[in-house]
Structure formats: structure tokens, C-alpha cells
């Protein structure tokens, strides 16, 4: 490996390693701390510094799942991840395929229509007004349709489809295969890795959906988990409908961190898969064009 640091001395190498190690601690420690707090008892947390739970307990998780609308938030977000990602993929794949066929009159105009959106994005006001006009306010579909296609993903996927040898498509056409057959039987099987990366990106974005929900959703029962997390941790309140009548207790730190952990885990679970495709260079390769 030749680089600008080639032939570095022993001290240089170890300085680099140690500083990188410290950086890793800076990146990882906050997660460990949050995890430790979520499994601690409230008294331990408020009295002293915990790095490992002294009296490990699941009380915070019990409380979160029974006394707050976190479970409902998880349901909404799971719906978004499944149905939303399916719609994302359907819309993105069909359009990317259409745009990858170079011999279609007018497709260049459509491509420019897409590329321009990378520069001219709608403002929140105009976006809100359109969603309102479509009567989607306070509907779960307001979290799905306005973001049905991410222009960037569309362009990456189109670029990948363009790389599939023309001859394959042409010979299928000669055999009388329809466009749908070509897409389903030739293009998609050859693009599994790219499709997987894009689906994972969409799924992560759906799980993280927060601001669209702030804008478009008013009913507590339609709040995705990210919004529930905001309410509990950053605003210190718990949705009214699930509170045991009479006694209102602000969520304790352990409870707050339990919600953080619950919200983070699904992303940690898919992260190795994302990582796997990165190392394969699928994404960077297609970005590099």
C-alpha cells in the first residue's frame, strides 16, 4: 500500500492508531452509556455516574411498552418500513427502468425533470400546501406518498440498469418478451445487490421518518416511533391516552434511554447488511458512475 504516509516511523504509526482508537471510543461510548442507563434502576442513575448497570433491571422497558405509546409508534413505523419501502421500490424500479431505455422518445425530457429536482427542492410551505390540497393531512399516506421516490436513489439505480448489456435486452425483445418480462426476468435478477442497498436505504429512511410526521400528522395514534421518542425524551411528556389515570410522572432517565435503545436497535440490526454491500462497493461503484 503506497500512500502519502508510506514509510512512516514506528511512533507515527502508533500515534495514528491510538488517536483512531480514541476516536472510536468517542463514537461508541455514548451508545454504551445509553444502554447502561436504560438497564439501570432510576435511583442509581440520578445519584451517580453509571457506566455499567449496578442493579440491572428491565423496569424501564416494561414501563415504556406498557405506559407510553411507544408500542403504537413501533407499529406505525413498521407499517411505514414495510408498505412504504415496497411503494418506494415499486415506484423507483419502474421509473429507473423506463429512464434506462435510451430509445424511448421523450425520456430525456423526463430525465431532466428528475435531475432538476436535485437543485430545486420544494419548500416546506409549498409541500405542506400540496399535501393539504390532496387531503392527506393526518393520514398515514402523507408519510408515504410525498417521499415515494428519492431522486438520488432513482438516478443511482438507473445508472446501474444502464450498465446491463444491451444485447441481453435486445435478444429478449426478439424472442417477443414484454417490457414487464424483461424487467422482471432479466433486469431485476441482475441487480440484486443494488436493489438491496436501495431498499435498505429506503427502509432506514422510513424508520427515521420524523419531520414529515411533525408536518402532516396530528393524531397521536399515527405517530411514528421517532416522534414518540421526541415526545418522551426531548419534551419530557408521555402521550395522554396511555397514562394511568391520576398520577402523572415525567418519564425517568432510564425510561427515556430505553426508548432511545428501542428506536436504535432496528437500524443496528440492518447495519451489517448495509455495511456488507458497501464493502462490495456496490453503492460507491454506482455513485462513481
Amino acid at each position: 500500500m503506497v500512500s502519502w504516509m508510506e514509510r512512516s516511523s514506528f511512533i507515527e504509526r502508533w500515534t495514528l492508531r491510538v488517536s483512531m482508537g480514541l476516536l472510536a471510543v468517542v463514537m461508541i461510548f455514548p451508545f454504551v452509556y445509553v444502554l447502561a442507563v436504560s438497564f439501570s434502576s432510576p435511583q442509581d442513575v440520578s445519584n451517580s455516574l453509571v457506566v455499567l448497570p449496578v442493579h440491572p433491571s428491565l423496569a424501564a422497558y416494561n414501563w415504556v411498552l406498557s405506559q407510553t405509546n411507544a408500542l403504537q409508534g413501533i407499529e406505525v413505523s413498521t407499517f411505514l418500513v414495510i408498505v412504504g419501502t415496497a411503494i418506494n421500490m415499486l415506484m423507483t424500479v419502474t421509473m429507473a427502468y423506463g429512464l434506462s431505455r435510451s430509445d424511448v422518445p421523450g425520456s430525456k425530457i423526463i430525465l431532466w425533470l428528475v435531475l432538476l429536482t436535485l437543485l430545486i427542492a420544494p419548500t416546506i410551505i409549498t409541500k405542506y400546501l400540496v399535501v393539504r390540497q390532496l387531503h392527506l393531512i393526518d393520514s398515514i399516506w402523507s408519510l408515504i406518498f410525498p417521499g415515494a421516490i428519492a431522486p438520488f436513489n432513482l438516478i443511482v439505480l438507473r445508472q446501474f440498469f444502464m450498465g446491463i448489456p444491451r444485447e441481453l435486452i435486445e435478444s429478449a425483445e426478439l424472442d417477443g418478451a414484454s417490457e414487464f418480462r424483461i424487467l422482471w426476468n432479466i433486469i431485476l435478477p441482475l441487480s440484486k445487490a443494488s436493489l438491496a442497498v436501495i431498499a435498505l436505504f429506503y427502509a432506514v429512511a422510513q424508520w427515521n421518518n420524523f419531520f414529515d410526521a411533525v408536518l402532516f400528522i396530528n393524531s397521536p395514534q399515527l405517530e411514528p416511533i421517532a416522534l414518540v421518542l421526541r415526545d418522551i425524551v426531548l419534551q419530557g411528556n408521555v402521550s395522554q391516552n396511555n397514562i394511568v389515570s391520576g398520577e402523572y410522572m415525567p418519564p425517568s432517565l432510564t425510561v427515556q434511554m430505553a426508548v432511545v435503545v428501542i428506536t436504535t436497535i432496528p437500524i443496528l440490526v440492518v447495519y451489517p447488511f448495509l455495511q456488507k454491500y458497501f464493502t462490495k462497493g456496490v453503492l460507491t461503484g454506482s455513485i462513481k458512475g
Partner: protein, 333 residues
């Protein structure tokens, strides 16, 4: 090499489109060419069907909202709609400029953007250089995994975690108390607002931003390093004369994009952080548009601010691109 190569790749495609048959064979009358075109369109009818949902989507959620900008010239009311709301010309813009809060949010936005350009932007470059220099593939891959992770977590999660580390009841505070000090709360201290915003962006995105830079570094011709070494160039000279020039076009490109976005600073992030702070500390242009428009119903006013912001952003990209070209760089388009 980057998105923009994707862009320019497509620009290139544009010129490669097959000329319509009518143009290849000029002796043919235009009519025949037209018939051919309609035949070609008919032949591809199923492709159009596949394109249709996407086209409707882009028209509905990207181009229809552009029309919504006319509300900036109206005393807009959602109940009267675009057609029913009275036209008031530039009155909204006059109100925008005479509102003292406008200038405060512009100042805040520019201050935060400046901090990010000075600290967060180079952080990605430096990190990429260090990762590149790191010996050992395993350790390098571990570092990359660790550094990319926060990019995939939403801002709500990131800020909740920071609250737990730097907030009044957090790790730092307990640590200071344990050492005999008083509780500290960096998350609600106005003096720390802008630095915390910048540090959070660095923590969340620096790792991810190395991807572009690392791709550029790997693209550098290795023989350049060898040649430089033969000529007696030390590490720093190789860094300065080989590595950095190899990264220059991507750095400039990302800088142009960043300058075009100088009026936007992480909407979700600031939106989440600003509660508990006053306007002159924590309101930025985007959150200002949100509070005036969606919360207070001053639709025309908010639309005017948003429109001004979009237009200034486009002008800034144009200027930055021009400047880059002046210095002999490729630029964005």
C-alpha cells in the same frame, strides 16, 4: 467519480440521443418522420406505462409545489386557496425585510453555516486522509463501520443521546459532580448552542463524508507517489503535492454545493434543539419559515421567506460555480 459525474454522464447521454430518422435522411418529408416518431412511441407504449407513476409523482410533489410559490405574492389563506386569495404584489417581501426577526435568523443561519464550513467540512477531509494512512485492513474497516454508523440514525436519536451525555442529568454533569464540581448543562446553555450544533454534525456526518474523499484518494495514480518519493519528497510534501491535488476537484465540488446550501442548516436538527432557546439564539431561516407559516398561519410571509431563500441559494451556486471555473476547475455544470 461522484454524483456529479453521474450528472455529467447524463448530460453526455443527452448529446448521444439518436437523431430522429427524419433528420438522418433529409430527403424524406417531415410527415414520414412524424409517422416514424409516432410508431416509435407506440412501440414503446409499455415503457411509458412504467414511467407514468414516477412522472405523476414528480409533477405532483416537486413541480406542483413550485406553483405554490405564488402564495408569496398573495395574502394567502388555505380556505380561499391559490385562486381565491387576494393578490398583494410585493407586500409580503416588504414585511419580511422590515421584520427585525428576519435579520436575526439570517445572522444565526450564516453563523452556523460558517462554523460548519470551517470545522465540519475539513473534518471529513482530514479523517479521510487519516483513514487512508491507517495501516491494517481490519482496523481500518472497523473504524469505517464505527464512523459511518451515526449517519444512519435519525436526528431524534442523535440528539437524545447527546442530551444524555451533555445535558443537565447527563454523563458529563455526573462526572463533574463526581470530581467535586457543580452540575453542567451544555445542551440548554445559549453560549454553547452553535458549538453543539456543529459538534453534533461533525459526530454524525464526518465519517460518512469521507466516502467521497476516500474514493478520490484511491483514484490517485500510485506512480505519482513513487515519482515524488524518488524526487525526495517527504510525507508532508507528498500529501501536499500529490494527495491533496488529487482530491481537489471533489473538494471544490462539495464546497460549491455547500455554499449553495449556506442558507440551510440541518432543519430537523435545529428544529429539535431549539425548544427552550430564544429566537435570537436558535431560530434559523428554515425553522422561522415553519413557525411563521405552519404554526402561526402567516402563509404569504413564510412563502416569501422560503422563496427568497431558494432564489438566493440558486444564485450562490451559480456564483460559486463561476468562481470555481475561474480557478480552472470543472465546476458543477
Amino acid at each position: 467519480m461522484t454524483t456529479v459525474n453521474v450528472l455529467s454522464g447524463q448530460t453526455h447521454d443527452m448529446h448521444e440521443t439518436h437523431a430522429p430518422p427524419g433528420r438522418i435522411q433529409p430527403e424524406q418529408p417531415g410527415k414520414a418522420g412524424k409517422r416514424r416518431l409516432s410508431q416509435r412511441i407506440w412501440r414503446r407504449r409499455w415503457v411509458y406505462l412504467l414511467l407514468l407513476p414516477g412522472v405523476v409523482y414528480f409533477l405532483l410533489f416537486y413541480y406542483l409545489p413550485l406553483l405554490g410559490n405564488i402564495s408569496a405574492f398573495q395574502d394567502y389563506s388555505p380556505y380561499l386557496g391559490f385562486l381565491g386569495s387576494p393578490w398583494i404584489g410585493l407586500a409580503n417581501f416588504r414585511t419580511v425585510f422590515s421584520d427585525p426577526d428576519t435579520w436575526i435568523v439570517i445572522r444565526n443561519t450564516l453563523e452556523i453555516s460558517l462554523l460548519q464550513i470551517v470545522f465540519a467540512f475539513p473534518a471529513g477531509i482530514i479523517l479521510a486522509l487519516l483513514l487512508n494512512a491507517l495501516p491494517g485492513q481490519k482496523f481500518k474497516r472497523f473504524m469505517q463501520s464505527t464512523l459511518y454508523l451515526p449517519h444512519f440514525l435519525g436526528w431524534v436519536i442523535i440528539i437524545s443521546i447527546w442530551q444524555q451525555i451533555f445535558g443537565g442529568d447527563g454523563f458529563l454533569s455526573h462526572l463533574v459532580i463526581g470530581l467535586g464540581g457543580k452540575p453542567v448543562d451544555l445542551m440548554s446553555n445559549p453560549a454553547f448552542f452553535q458549538p453543539m450544533v456543529t459538534l453534533q454534525v461533525m459526530w454524525k456526518e464526518s465519517g460518512w463524508s469521507t466516502i467521497m474523499f476516500l474514493a478520490a484518494i484511491t483514484g490517485i495514480d500510485m506512480s505519482l507517489y513513487e515519482a515524488a518519493a524518488v524526487d525526495g519528497a517527504g510525507k508532508m510534501r507528498r500529501l501536499w503535492h500529490v494527495t491533496l491535488p488529487g482530491m481537489r476537484s471533489i473538494i471544490i465540488l462539495l464546497l460549491i454545493l455547500r455554499l449553495g446550501n449556506v442558507l440551510s442548516v440541518g432543519f430537523e436538527q435545529i428544529f429539535l434543539l431549539r425548544s427552550g432557546f430564544t429566537t435570537d439564539v436558535a431560530e434559523v431561516i428554515d425553522t422561522f419559515v415553519y413557525s411563521r407559516g405552519i404554526l402561526s398561519g402567516q402563509w404569504g410571509f413564510a412563502a416569501a421567506v422560503a422563496l427568497l431563500k431558494a432564489v438566493i441559494g440558486a444564485i450562490l451556486i451559480f456564483i460559486a460555480n463561476r468562481a470555481a471555473k475561474k480557478f480552472g476547475e470543472e465546476g458543477l455544470y
